[in-house]
Point group: C2
């Protein structure tokens, strides 16, 4: 195995590692611009080459020529389930347990509503949704929106560190709602251990896999998780804003109820009955008509994963992030960079975040030099590593450009902050 960290970290050594990397040929599956080192696949994954032909086919033939018939003949109706089944192996789910639909925000709303309803039946005294203050904001906003509107005494408890979770998951906790890999720090939770803890205390667990699916190995069944949602446009390379996914294991499907009961969640949508009857199975997690063109492109991203497996991807991901951390810390040692991402492998996702007092300006300068990462308040520069297409030499070159910018102070320290996306 040539993926172990090299003792001689030189550009030549990185090129040698790429030459020996069994995943290296997968880079050709993607269209990447010249002159760019793309370290933002944790925000928007690169374009699979197949997506252009697929877009042409969906637009020109399926829509343009076959028109309304494509709902059946091109399988448009089945896309949410077909894509869900194809995604399932990446997160340890089974066929018939995932649909690709709507947005992560909305899917979280559905799953949280269902979890609260289950607890309402089991133990109505449980009124607290526990999560982290550092969770991705939309998760907190959606939970807050649901809790306020239900207006039955539900509360959000935001903990400030993972260490506080143990105390927070008490007899009043209805649902533990966590993002598996933190979007800002790249810290990964121990899904199995936290799920076990929550279950032991009578709580249900809802996992947001936005920065996990396709990034780190996930086994929802092994962890005995209750619900999960996630994103297809980051590490799964499904396209900008592509529909999200929701996982409901078979054991919870019969009890899965939520208020967003659109016609696609009806048992017989074309009976056009005015009475609602939820579909059996995962179909009840759907709501309204889905954006077919965007949805269809998700398949092009998923296809690439079928050429490899998450164990191989994880090995390379850790090698890439190890190398990046080592190079930044050695070659940029005299600059005030602070590693935010855990060094421990089992606590790390597939990104590395460093703080810098002028993080926003430094990231702007990096982007101008073709190293695309992004910036998140406060002071955090994020670098995402996608083993499907990121090379070891990319890591070397990115760090050299970062070093050059810092050494020469070639950034505008007075730049007004804003979103660097």
């Amino acid at each position: 195995m040539t993926l172990a960290p090299s003792s001689a970290d030189t550009r030549a050594a990185c090129l040698a590692r790429d030459a020996a990397d069994p995943l290296a040929p997968l880079r050709d599956r993607f269209d990447l611009p010249d002159g760019v080192i793309y370290l933002d696949g944790n925000s928007l994954g690169a374009r699979p080459r197949a997506a252009l032909d697929r877009a042409r086919d969906v637009v020109a033939r399926e829509w343009g020529q076959d028109l309304i018939r494509s709902w059946n003949s091109a399988g448009w109706f089945d896309l949410p389930k077909r894509l869900g089944d194809r995604l399932a192996p990446l997160v340890g789910a089974r066929p018939g347990e995932i649909v690709v639909t709507d947005t992560t925000s909305l899917n979280l709303f559905k799953a949280l509503a269902a979890a609260l309803a289950i607890q309402q039946d089991r133990d109505p005294q449980r009124k607290v949704i526990v999560t982290e203050r550092s969770n991705f904001p939309t998760d907190i906003y959606m939970a807050d929106g649901l809790a306020r509107w239900l207006d039955r005494g539900y509360e959000l408890l935001l903990v400030d560190s993972p260490e506080e979770l143990d105390a927070a998951i008490d007899a009043r906790c209805a649902v533990l709602m966590l993002t598996h890999v933190n979007y800002r720090t790249g810290r990964q939770h121990d899904m199995a251990a936290l799920t076990r803890l929550a279950h032991a205390r009578g709580a249900l667990v809802l996992w947001d896999l936005a920065h996990s699916a396709g990034a780190v190995p996930v086994d929802l069944h092994a962890a005995d998780a209750d619900f999960a949602v996630g994103c297809t446009y980051k590490y799964l390379n499904g396209g900008p804003g592509a529909p999200a996914f929701i996982w409901v294991p078979e054991r919870h499907q019969a009890a899965f109820r939520h208020p967003l009961t659109g016609w696609w969640s009806h048992a017989k949508p074309f009976a056009m009955s005015h009475g609602f009857a939820a579909a059996e199975g995962i179909g009840r997690a759907l709501c309204g008509t889905q954006p077919v063109v965007s949805l269809a492109l998700v398949e092009c991203g998923l296809e690439v994963f079928e050429q490899t497996d998450m164990a191989a991807l994880r090995a390379k991901s850790l090698a890439l992030t190890d190398l990046f951390i080592a190079l930044v810390e050695s070659r940029c040692a005299r600059h005030p960079l602070g590693l935010v991402t855990p060094r421990a492998h089992d606590a790390r996702g597939s990104q590395v975040s460093f703080t810098h007092p002028h993080g926003y300006a430094v990231m702007q300068a990096l982007i101008e030099r073709g190293v695309i990462g992004d910036y998140r308040e406060p002071e955090i520069m994020r670098f995402g590593f996608t083993p499907l297409y990121t090379r070891f030499v990319d890591v070397w070159d990115a760090v050299e450009i970062l070093r050059d910018i810092l050494d020469r102070e070639a950034y505008d320290a007075a730049a007004a902050r804003g979103a660097v996306t």
Copy 2:
């Protein structure tokens, strides 16, 4: 004006009307398959030719080459508002009052939640949502889902005919929620009159424009409507399942609150604050990240409308539906066809529905002969007319094929019913 019904209804007369039709050149803006008479634009609009190049550009350049930068450089973040402003003139809305986002089902949920919240502040005794049993089912399901989850005594009152609305809109009515043009019958409500009636009784009015936007003239401000939602993939030709729209007039925006508070509805989404603060203006009707490829294609449909206006489109639409009704009733007179769509112009949308005891089988036979309409329970054959691309000769030919099928009983009367889409 050559659009008036012709006294001599012959194929030659239809060709002459097409030759004199000032809208005829707009058909070239669409890619329509050979050998097909497409009368289902009320379900899925045809593909604007521009959509193929636009798809290629969004996928290859904006996504593939510019990657994450396109959120700003290609204006992806602004798409919901930009498209909303472009759609606004078609429904009598003003800039800054519409976003194109999510699905009609979800937008209806948001608008209904907001309307109920406004009434809760004004007159908390108002607990009834009035609609029609014949409304599109998803509207009823979403309202039911919201009412059940709020669990504060809200009820749905389903009336069986428009005549019952007067009595139903009483002092307990919080919201009158109607679809402007009925999906099955093509009957059009008098938006201004019903809004006036509801306002006089203290109710708010939410209009679903799924079968109205781009199909019939709509003036939301002239009608003094409160909220509206609608669809972009029918008469607006935005592409399969393309995101829907929601209209909130400026006078209601400050009070517009709903539970689906995703990060796109936040005043400063990239501040990544854990506390929710709703955006000013129409932005608060957004929720999560939108499917950019599908969303971008909506613009290609809207562009075509800028070549004409709704008055011209309405005149041709009525001429087409008048002709269709007249030809079916004269040339298929000996068959048991029943006109469902109103004859009165001001009560008709841009579709015509006929019942037939074997409606399902007859529609199957029509589709096999290249005349694409659709079928809705019970017994209803729907024919949509899109003056942007439907020709008078198409009407003639469609009726001749229908007549031939009926005369020869060339349909499988024993065919199992199902969705004909």
